[in-house]
Amino acid sequence: MEPLARSAVGVSGGPRDRGDEFVVALEAVSRGIRDPVAKLKYIRGSLNRYRTLNRCVRAIPLRGFRRQVYRWLSLEGLGPLLVSDPFGAAPPVELRTRASRYASRAALASFTLLAAAGATLAAWHLSRPAPMVKAAAPAALPAAVETLPTLPAALAPAAVWLVEKGEGSEQYSNGLRIDLSHAVDGEPRRYHVFAEHGGLLPELHDQPVGLLFHTSESDIWPLEASFNEPLRDSSQRLLRYLQRNRTYHYLVDRFGRVFRVVNEDSKANHAGHAVWANDGRVYLSLNNAFLGVSFESRWEGGKALPITQAQLAAGRNLTEYLRQRYDISASMCLAHGLASVNPRKHLIGHHMDWSRGFPWAAFGLPDQYQTVAPAVALFGFGYDEDFLKVLAEPWEGVRGGERELAGEAVRRGVTVDQVRRDRQGLYDLWIAAQANAEKGVDRALTNQGPVRPAGNVG
């Protein structure tokens, strides 16, 4: 629609100052909150902190220095948002008079510039809306996790075993505690595997062979005591939702609590159309073959919001336990974004959570961003502009896959596009074969008869 009234003055010209960044970040987070009351609480809460900072600065006695601090903190730009009457109705009694402000300034005159600067610095630190809404850096990002201090060497158990099982929890020897209060059964796990050079294999599997790390894509509140209620409540609501939809096997909440959602012997609806390959074996649609571990966090602006130290420690223990229990190799532990595909369009990056910034090293895992992307190398999948808008640059494994496609094109004397088309055709055949095999499994389960997997498709 054509704008109804033209802008007479440039309201957005010039470079962004920190006040603008604050507002942009605040808007980005609040846009994701659907409930009006929750959204209002978040916006007002964030602005209140700037308001507090504003009051601190107003108390600085020296006018020139006060002005400098204002400018430095970009409070001028936010001035119109720092009103004392946020509902537009005058409060019954205005306590803060001009006289008292002068009095407070006079009382504070004895503070040194250094003290004021120190206080301001601290206040500025406090005023930032939330750690997860810093402006996104375009290129290489550090692992999206808060830094853990190095721990002194300590005794670690040789293996992870179940120490104790209570009514609502399991305690493991590596410190892992699993809350069972939300655990439910899903459909039984049954799946087929493909041989990279042979097609569908006849064996039917029921054990998980991999771990897929997710972000929960739910509300993320600032990790502060004042937000304890929404922090706690949003986790509980998330858990109930996950339970209803059998979405992940595990959720690690922001306080590091590990919840089993779908029992491990069931499949969970966490991966949908996803592709992975390892050691000559190819896995399509990973709901069955992989266990889904989700961190309560969100993929936003081309990266995951930082997980907490507690989440990292708990996630590491959980990974250790699952890998040991099911003998899962490190190369089969990956992020959802690295495997998710759109099968109809033959595109990677259908979901992008953790397609950047997963702390592999902290989990004792190899950097999977370097691993050649199977969807690209084996099935010729590509990516579109939307993908690049988010990531700017695909991870190295995608480039590796593209190099393999290009090498094959040279060997066969055809174009890369031709190679892609051939491989995408192969994917379509394999997906169809898998669907047929699943139908066979379903029939067999229904009839309680012997399972006859479909034949190989080359």
């Binding site: 007479a8 909150i33 009103v83 509902f87 929960s216 949003s234 998330l238």
Partner: protein, 354 residues
């Protein structure tokens, strides 16, 4: 079957519903109230829905007789006895006014308690008492709308707000006053992070609020509303304003050519009202020395009973196009329910304050 569920997680639709469940379980019942010149609207949660009720903010006194009182009682008509008069108030008032060919009287005028009406507060209290139940727990939050101050009438606004606040406190509520235009923004512009212009065109006046991220930046009161149109048209067509209001509410279509003198007069005064409104908005925006910076065009939402006629939005847009504002306007839209938008916004404020 392979399923992709992640899309549905962001953001969990059930979350809001479950929070409402919690409210219901704990017995909490915040209220939002639009105390308007012409109507009082109350909104509250009922289960997972918002329910709103409306009452005419008007009264008419009739001479007392036992017979009249019995008839009123038998017909469930709201009234109270004041000396030798029975004061009929609320929705039945218009019917009686038309029956007796008399004007309705109003406890409020121009958005505030009517200083010329001695029965203003007793009647308003009677109406509010009927609409607002006693809170289940003391200190329950109730947010009520107040207009923006019209220059020169700030003291009257303070009195109005303090009087209502005192009444709600006496009923056991924790009252919170919210600007009417801001309430419209709360109810209608959640999708814009509560940034935009909310306009409430009521009976006594029009309220305009520009808010950025829910914080009001500009508050503007225009001392013209539906009542002005009623009395101006009434003077031209020689009808009581109450009668004009009744005819108006039967349906006005400003998008087509007027058919008779009545429609011509309505059209003229609606256009004048809208011109005044848009001119006031333009002046206020242009003279504002500190507007928050924004990159995006912002929306305008129209609400209130006076904005309901078909074609109102088009005339407003036309008036807007002839002016240059210091901010870009993305769209003009009507509130989902213009009559209850303010009350629903006040309810959001009450739930926020809780």
């Amino acid at each position: 079957m392979v399923e992709e569920r992640k899309d549905h997680l962001w953001k969990i639709a059930q979350e809001a519903e479950e929070r409402i469940d919690d409210l219901t379980k704990t017995g909490a019942s915040p209220l939002g109230l639009d105390v308007g010149t012409a109507k009082v609207v109350v909104s509250r949660r009922k289960g997972k829905e918002i329910e709103s009720g409306t009452e005419l903010n008007a009264f008419i006194p009739v001479p007392y007789s036992k017979f009249t009182e019995t008839i009123l009682g038998q017909n469930d008509i709201a009234y109270y006895r004041d000396g030798e008069e029975l004061v009929i108030y609320g929705s039945a008032t218009e019917r009686f006014a038309n029956m007796f060919n008399a004007e309705c009287r109003r406890p409020m005028a121009d958005g505030l308690l009517n200083p010329r009406e001695k029965r203003a507060m007793p009647v308003l209290e009677a109406i509010l008492t009927n609409m607002v139940p006693k809170p289940r727990t003391a200190g329950e939050t109730l947010a009520f709308s107040v207009p923006a101050a019209i220059p020169g009438r700030e003291a009257a606004l303070t009195y109005h707000e303090a009087t209502l606040r005192g009444f709600f406190q006496s009923q056991g509520y924790k009252p919170v006053a919210i600007n009417e235009g801001l309430a419209v923004i709360f109810s209608e512009l959640e999708d814009h992070n509560f940034t935009g212009i909310g306009i409430s065109c009521g009976g006594g006046m029009c309220n305009v609020t520009l808010a950025f991220l829910s914080i009001p930046s500009i508050l503007l009161g225009i001392g013209k509303g539906g009542d002005y149109i009623d009395s101006a048209v009434g003077a031209v067509v020689n009808e009581h304003a109450t009668r004009v209001k009744s005819m108006k509410e039967e349906g006005v279509d400003l998008s087509r050519q007027p058919k008779d003198k009545f429609e011509r007069a309505l059209r003229i005064y609606y256009e004048e009202l809208i011109e005044t409104l848009v001119e006031g908005l333009t002046k206020q925006l242009s003279s504002a020395d500190k507007l928050p910076r924004t990159d995006r065009p912002i929306p305008i939402v129209l609400s209130g009973g006076t904005s309901k006629p078909r074609g109102f939005k088009d005339i407003f847009e036309k008036a807007l196009r002839t002016r240059t504002l210091p901010i870009q306007i993305a769209e003009v839209r009507m509130a989902k329910d213009p009559l209850t938008a303010t009350a629903r916004g006040a309810l959001i404020a009450a739930m926020y304050e809780k």
